[in-house]
């Protein structure tokens, strides 16, 4: 692969260059071929014989975390050398080592060194595509953006796709084909596999089974069909631990056929969620839904009302005007009640479904509100709610005439919409029956995440030939005869469907780092056409779809736009079979309920080794690097447990010990555990983090069930949370951090928002005139109404600004590095609190307290109002951070940035300095983007200083809810100027007269008067 360092900047920026052995990646790659050895921990350092490797093995990722706190390491020694040198002569720090510069041999046409290119592609999770534009510096993907042309993205992204770029460069990814624990090669595998396949021909492949994750790729589906034609006896199974079986079955129950449900929240005046977390990145269509939902939360234009009926608290629940915490097992009864309520023209049915007084009152109001908004309301069932709830939701939506308006049904997006759990059970049955001779697993890890009761491991050992194709040499790979290292989606060709059916073409941004193979390649070999490349396969498929002379045009346009035009599914007319479903009563409220949820960070465990996601604070608890069991305050009191105490959660005869997190708003007599942690072979970030709860999860009750036992056991456990204190109360006062009002108050009292200090109230008017005279004065507003707390901005910022990961231990010390954080506050009754999200980047104060106190002037004010931070001038007194009332400054207490791993060097944004040890860092409004924009516009000589169109900060660009607006406040008609005039606009702590350039739009709730009473 090419690694020209030609764009003027090496990938590593040093504040003080010390001696470091740089490692040449080509040579390392060359070595990969020969080297043998079963190590799982193979990394380029090791192969290149860099002495760092051993040490890195014993070090928790990242370096900062463990290394520094125990014995002096060689790295440490090097650092001291650097330091002492520097101290000896003043010059040691400024004399640069000679640097090499490596041009191309033949320069590609479209490349302008130093200018990034953007390519459209798509990331796929559970079969649903997230359409992307990927920034590429000389064929190194560095940053993920949403594809603003694509109907399913509109420019927004989600945390998983944002972080996927780190996943691609992960040095722990499988780098070889492995056979029986030894490094083998793709070629050897091709030779080998012919035999077994031949052996299957007699039985028409009756012994062949393929298990893959859910996919929506048309080309792949086509290829699979071809393969199955070749081996009619073979079977293709699909299983993902987090699947949509419930939705599928629900649809079948309601309509007798599997259909995809799409919501049009932009048309919804009333939204009712039945335990649905549609503002979570794992929910198909999240990006689009978040945008539409947020758009309808604007109090100045027809604000919608949102009722959340949910079990485990979610970010969706936080945004609700009315939230009702109920146990998941009780949602069925509630759904039925709403159905009855909506089916009546007026009044409210008196069927006893075991609802409490309060619940009944709530449902009465909800039903009335729904009826009042027939055709402009929507009821959304939760992914993990049983089919019946989905069916009920369908019935309600149909009854309200929402179908076609706020709800649309289409063909399923997944290529083969089977009940994945059933499919998987069949497979296990066949394996037990000894029918399976050749098992191929692609992109799945059943030995970690299969339902425990199926006893997959045993069945698995019985299969004579097991082939694993995946990104990591994970728990399953370990027990397979062959492992084929998979190509990341950024390295391979393919296509995939978004939630609305639109097909995105997936094109590689870089040649496979470790020569990985896509599923296309693998299938090609299995189908006996090894020469067919992924590119050819995908192109060939679309040739069939779009035969004609203009195919090249079509192909180019599709690649350029990132999607194939008019492939979105058209709405489908489906008739509800019936509205009366057999209703099972809610279980005994005394029995303790246990909920299983995909983890907000690592999902089902597949992202375990992604350090960005690991260190990403979970939306509600702000915990990093771990999972835990959520318990409601009331129940915690009964159990006599505190946060961080250990408890034993037992279900049947399976038990798991977990640390407790007391989650405000969690329903009583119910606990929630999160999947995906406790990996044994994930990589340096994921291995050993958290606790594996799959042992509690059975095929019968994958999402929730009652009858769990929870008991306090001795011991506590460190949960590293990034937020010190989750309420706005301090002492006996509530601080005006998040300002709120109800829609009525907002309409009636325009001055609800606390008054701001008058502009003339300052001792230093000096710069006002100068700021106004500039072409640009940068400013930002953050709409607290829109923010759905998805954390996307954090990852985007981390990726854009080369922000280091510090590891659990350092996070626990209060040393995490995120430049923007999303604070979550809970107010009122802890069992049913009001909750708020507040993203906090640097406020870029005009009277910045931090600047005043820096002894070396390392942080100063730019003429355009930026609070500049000059890393290479910083001596690290940390005074600025002390004096920052917002505490948005971050300090490199150790050498947190990884300076040595070559993959990370390739991943970094060359336009941003990589910070060294002992310097302060902070949000700069993405000054690198500002500078680039300014230079461009100055060269073009434009006089239009409204930057709304072409200049976005990383957080703003990635925000699916458009909560962040950034721009030029010197231009009256810029978006940000307008918003700053809005009545809701206020500066955080503006009574300190810091004059922040970043301001907030107060949060407005739209409660139902009936329930307010």
């Amino acid at each position: 692969m090419k690694m020209e360092e030609q764009n003027g900047k090496p990938h590593q920026e040093e504040v003080c260059p010390g001696k470091k052995d740089k490692l040449n990646l080509e040579s390392a790659n060359a070595l990969i071929a020969e080297t043998k050895g079963p190590e799982f921990w193979r990394s380029l350092e090791e192969l290149a014989g860099s002495g760092e490797f051993q040490e890195m093995m014993h070090r928790e990722f990242p370096k900062g975390a463990s290394e520094w706190l125990d014995s002096v390491s060689r790295r440490g020694f090097m650092k001291l050398m650097g330091a002492s040198l520097a101290m000896a002569g003043m010059t040691a720090c400024t004399k640069q080592p000679m640097e090499a510069i490596v041009p191309y041999v033949k320069q590609p046409e479209d490349v302008i060194p130093g200018k990034p290119l953007f390519y459209a592609t798509a990331f796929t999770l559970g079969g649903y595509a997230a359409p992307l534009l990927v920034e590429s510096h000389l064929f190194r993907p560095t940053k993920i953006e949403g594809n603003d042309k694509h109907p399913a993205s509109l420019g927004g992204t989600d945390v998983y796709s944002q972080a996927s770029v780190l996943g691609m460069y992960d040095p722990d990814r499988s780098q070889n084909v492995i056979h029986a624990g030894d490094v083998s090669s793709w070629g050897e595998f091709q030779n080998f596999i012919r035999g077994p396949l031949k052996g299957q021909e007699a039985s028409q492949g009756a012994g062949i089974r393929i298990l893959s994750g859910a996919f929506s790729s048309p080309a792949l589906a086509d290829q699979v069909q071809a393969f199955l034609k070749l081996y009619p006896g073979a079977k293709w199974h699909t299983y993902e631990p987090v699947n949509r079986d419930n939705a599928l079955e629900g649809a079948k129950l309601a309509f007798g056929q599997p259909v995809e449900t799409q919501y049009h929240l932009e048309n919804a005046d009333v939204v009712v969620s039945l335990d649905a977390d549609f503002l979570y990145a794992g929910f198909p269509g999240f990006t689009k839904y978040a945008r539409d939902f947020a758009a309808r939360r604007n109090p100045d234009s027809g604000m919608s009302r949102f009722y959340a009926i949910e079990s485990a608290p979610t970010s969706s629940g936080v945004k609700a005007d009315h939230r009702l915490p109920v146990r998941a097992s009780h949602v069925g009864a509630i759904a039925a009640t709403i159905k009855d309520g909506t089916f009546l023209v007026k009044g409210f049915p008196q069927i006893d479904r075991g609802l409490t007084e309060e619940e009944t009152r709530f449902m009465r109001a909800v039903s009335r509100d729904l009826r009042a908004h027939s055709g402009s309301s929507v009821v959304i069932p939760g992914e993990h709610q049983p089919p019946i709830v989905h069916a009920l939701a369908h019935a309600i939506n149909a009854q309200l005439g929402n179908v076609g308006k706020t709800v649309v049904y289409t063909d399923p997006v997944i290529a083969n919409p089977v009940n994945q759990l059933e499919s998987f059970k069949d497979l296990v049955a066949d394996m037990n029956a000894g029918k399976v001779q050749l098992l191929i697993l692609s992109g799945v890890n059943p030995l970690f995440d299969a339902p425990v009761d199926l006893n997959f491991a045993k069945a698995f050992e019985g299969v004579p030939l097991r082939i694993h194709h995946g990104l990591y040499q994970d728990e399953t790979a370990e027990h397979c005869h062959w492992h084929i290292n998979q190509a990341d989606y950024l390295e391979a060709w393919g296509d995939t469907r978004a939630f609305d059916g639109t097909v995105s073409l997936v094109q590689p941004l870089i040649a496979p780092l470790y020569d990985g193979k896509s599923l296309h390649d693998l299938l090609a070999v299995l189908s006996g056409e090894p020469q067919a490349s992924g590119h050819e396969i995908v192109q060939a498929y679309w040739q069939k779809q779009h035969s004609g002379a203009d195919f090249d045009m079509f192909w180019r346009r599709s690649l350029h736009d990132g999607f194939v035009a008019d492939t979105a599914y058209s709405p489908k007319q489906v008739a509800a079979k019936s509205a009366n479903f057999a209703q099972s009563a809610s279980p005994d409220a005394k029995a303790i309920e246990i909920n299983f949820r995909p983890d907000p960070s690592v999902y089902d465990g597949r992202f375990s080794n992604n350090a960005w996601l690991q260190e990403l604070p979970k939306p509600m608890s702000k915990i990093t690097w771990d999972n835990c069991v959520w318990i409601g305050p009331a129940m915690a009191e009964r159990l006599g447990v505190q946060k961080r105490d250990m408890v034993r959660v037992a279900l049947g005869d399976a038990k798991v010990d977990l640390p407790v997190w007391i989650q405000a708003g969690h329903p009583d007599n119910s606990v929630t555990v999160f999947l995906g942690y406790g990996r044994k072979r994930a990589g340096r970030a994921g291995t050993g983090a958290g606790f594996d709860v799959y042992p509690l999860r059975t095929s019968a009750t994958p999402w929730f069930t009652t009858g769990a036992q929870v008991s306090k056991i001795s011991g506590t456990y460190i949960l590293a949370s990034t937020q010190g204190y989750q309420t706005m109360d301090a002492g006996d006062v509530t601080r005006p951090i998040v300002r709120t009002a109800t829609l009525d108050e907002y309409r009636k009292h325009a001055d609800f928002n606390e008054e701001k200090p008058p502009a003339e109230l300052t001792l230093y008017p000096g710069y006002e005139a100068q700021y106004r005279s500039e072409n640009y004065a940068w400013g930002m507003t953050i709409d607290l109404n829109s923010c759905v707390g998805c954390n996307n901005c954090i990852v985007a910022c981390q990726s854009e600004n080369n922000i280091a990961v510090v590891g659990k231990e350092q996070v626990n010390h209060g040393r995490h590095m995120h430049w923007i954080r999303v604070d979550a506050y809970y107010q009122g009754d802890r069992n049913d609190p009001k909750a708020y999200f507040q993203p906090v980047p640097c406020m870029q104060c005009e009277n910045a307290p931090c600047e005043l106190v820096c002894p070396v002037g390392a942080t100063t004010h730019s003429t355009e109002g930026l609070n500049d931070m000059v890393y290479n001038r910083c001596v690290g007194t940390r005074y600025c951070s002390n004096n920052c009332p917002y505490k948005v400054r971050r300090f490199n207490f150790f050498l947190f940035s990884d300076w040595d791993t070559p993959q990370y060097k390739m991943m970094r944004n060359p336009d941003v300095t990589v910070r060294s040890r002992g310097v302060m860092e902070k949000c700069t409004y993405c000054v690198q983007r500002i500078t680039e924009y300014r230079i461009k516009s100055e060269e073009s000589g434009t006089k239009d200083y409204n930057t709304d169109a072409d200049l976005k900060t990383a957080c703003q660009q990635s925000c699916p809810a458009n909560a962040i607006t950034f721009g030029n406040i010197n231009v009256a008609d810029s978006q940000v100027s307008k918003l700053k005039k809005n009545q809701r606009n206020y500066g955080l702590l503006d009574d300190l007269n810091t004059r922040p350039r970043t301001t907030y739009l107060a949060e407005i709730r739209n409660p139902n008067p009936e329930l307010e009473a």
């Binding site: 300052t762 230093y764 000096g766 710069y767 005009e846 009277n847 910045a848 307290p849 931090c850 600047e851 005043l852 820096c854 002037g857 100063t860 004010h861 730019s862 003429t863 004059r995």
Partner: protein
Amino acid sequence: MKDPKIYGLLAEFDTAEAVVEAAQRTYAAGYRKIDAYSPFPIEELWEAIGFHKNGVAPVCLLGGLLGGTGAYLLQWWINTISYPVNIGGRPFHSWPAFIIVTFEMTILFGGLSAVFGMLVMNGLPQPYHPLFNVDRFAGVTRDRFFIAIFASDAKYDLLETREFLQTLHPHSISEVPT
């Protein structure tokens, strides 16, 4: 008569009163190139030998002024001429903030010039001095008092001066070899 090998005459006294009185009389007798020595500072003594102005204070003042103005000018130049930067929205010439360094530098230069001024004017360091040739003189650092009349004095004459010193009833008289 003058003996080139003699640096001066040294008279030793037992008490402070004695030496002060003797000093006054020596001065009255018209001797000017004289000096007195005591184990501790005695204001009357230097008054007695006619040493009234020691010029340390002006030096100190000068040093202080230089230090202060220098410091302020430096800060002013740095912040308004050399590299004016907007720091926390404060004026370039934030004079209140500059006062402290100005003050400290006034003290520093004032103090140092006082001390070094004193040393220089005292002609120190001067580890070698003819007086040390007189062994009895060691007592001056303990409990003895002395008056010296130097050969360089106009009125000085080995015999006459010795006689004159006798009249002061010293504890002893010794010649100071050059």
